[in-house]
């Protein structure tokens, strides 16, 4: 699914960062939970998305921590990222409204409704 912020994966990464800064694995876990397991980001995919969002100014590094001797870099949503996410939500809501309205007018073909 393409979205205004890029791919569905990018949408979920931005959503994962909407309430708090998170590190790479934190994003992977949050996206899996938010999508009810439907979107499981592989590490290569995650960093491809993150790099693009950072380059586009939608996400920025927040801080770095060393955890069990390993680097954890946290990312946060920028103001531009917040606006992009809001715009995408509005677009998806409009899509849902349209589809719901159309489905409301749907009748089975045998009932002589629209096909």
């Amino acid at each position: 699914m393409g979205t205004g912020v890029g791919t569905e994966q990018a949408f979920f990464v931005l959503t994962a960062l909407a309430d708090a800064p998170r590190h790479g694995y934190g994003i992977v876990r949050e996206v899996a939970e938010a999508s009810e397991g439907r979107v499981r980001l592989k590490v290569g995919t995650l960093y491809g998305v993150l790099e693009r969002l950072v380059a586009g100014g939608l996400v920025e590094p927040d801080r770095e921590e060393i955890h069990s001797g390993r680097l954890r870099r946290y990312y946060r949503l920028t103001e531009s990222g917040r606006r992009s996410l809001l715009a995408d939500i509005a677009r998806q809501e409009a899509n849902v409204r349209l589809a719901t309205e159309r489905l409301g007018a749907w009748r089975p073909a045998t009932a002589g409704g629209a096909t």
């Binding site: 290569g44 960093y47 790099e51």
Partner: protein, 346 residues
């Protein structure tokens, strides 16, 4: 370092060194975190005997391809490579844009009874009209694909280019099926020809959401020159040359155009276009070579004029490409050495 970490770092080596310098430690940390099961025994077993899953490996390989083609946070050497591949893809579309005007002018020339060497009439009649018509129609798609890329509609551009390949693919398949009617060397040449154009279309993968569309003005001017000038000339040239004694065939023409591009300082002034010209030598030489092989496969035609001309073209282009590659490689290394190191904040 655990065996699992070692194995994952080995996978990450497909990424450019400049990219790894920024992202590797973080990617390793995220990967190892994602393998934790919560059970210390299982974790220890995984650390000692585990391997990155195939899907993890594929995600890194896909990332490596994307970064090399279009990544913003990579070394200039790789960024230039990505830009050059995009120029190569645009040149591929531009070259194919010749098909439509060339075919239109050919049809006009033949239908209006313009002068034609006698030997050519029979050869032209041998081509099925429906194939020619299909190539005409599909020729529009190359132009549409180029325009789509210029306006940033990359997905549409890629789709149009793939569809535009259909007649060539159909022709290759048809020839393979009816291979008793044609020499094997011709079947091979047609498939190699198709492969070159498939690779040029594949280069369109370098256009993705990370990159801006090419500058419109120079490419639109080039398109106008191709459609109004080069295309008609390319259409008429082969039918005016006797089929039994042609002087310059299509791969030969491509060699000449490549040579002009390689020696004109204005074309190779920017590092991107110099690299693109250097990359383009591969399809140019491939086309030249496979059609030469076809000529050599024609029995009893050892002194066939295009063979000698083609060999000269092959030698000159190969020599010029070595010089260009050496010079371009030196420029790329110099600029890479002078450039600042990339970082996640850049």
């Amino acid at each position: 370092m655990s065996v699992l970490e070692d194995r994952y770092r080995a996978v990450l080596r497909v990424l450019p060194a400049s990219y790894r310098a920024v992202w590797e430690e973080e990617m390793v940390s995220t990967f190892l975190d994602s393998t934790r099961t919560g059970d210390p025994e299982d974790d220890e077993f995984l650390a000692d005997f585990g391997r990155p899953s195939m899907s993890e490996v594929v995600s890194v390989v896909v990332l490596a391809v994307r970064v090399r083609l279009a990544g913003p946070a990579v070394a200039p050497r790789i960024a230039v490579g990505g830009q050059a591949v995009r120029v190569v893809a645009m040149v591929g579309l531009l070259v194919n844009a010749i098909a439509l005007p060339a075919a239109v002018v050919q049809h006009w020339w033949l239908s209006t009874g313009m002068p034609l060497p006698a030997a050519n009439r029979a050869a032209i009649n041998a081509h099925p009209a429906d194939t020619a018509a299909a190539i005409d129609v599909f020729g529009v798609l190359w132009i549409a694909a180029l325009v789509a890329v210029l306006v940033g509609q990359y997905r549409a551009g890629k789709l149009l280019a793939v569809v535009a390949l259909v007649p060539s693919a159909a022709r290759a398949i048809e020839m393979t099926v009816h291979r008793s009617d044609v020499p094997d060397s011709l079947v091979i040449a047609v498939w190699c020809d198709l492969l070159v154009y498939v690779l040029l279309v594949a280069a369109l993968a370098a256009f993705n959401e990370r990159v801006s569309p090419p500058r419109r003005r120079p490419w639109l001017i080039a398109l106008a020159v191709v459609v109004l000038g080069v295309g008609p000339v390319v259409g008429v040239l082969p039918i005016l040359q006797p089929v039994d004694q042609p002087g310059l065939d299509w791969p030969g023409l491509v060699c000449v155009v490549w040579l002009i591009a390689a020696v004109v300082p204005r074309v190779t002034r920017s590092l991107t276009s110099a690299t693109a010209v250097a990359v383009l030598v591969v399809p140019v030489l491939a086309l030249r070579l496979v059609w030469l092989l076809y000529y050599t496969g024609l029995g009893g035609m050892g002194d066939y004029p295009p063979l000698l001309v083609g060999l000269v073209e092959l030698a000159v282009v190969a020599a010029a490409s070595v010089l260009l590659l050496l010079r371009t490689g030196h420029r790329v290394r110099s600029e890479a050495a002078a450039a600042p190191r990339p970082s996640v904040r850049s």
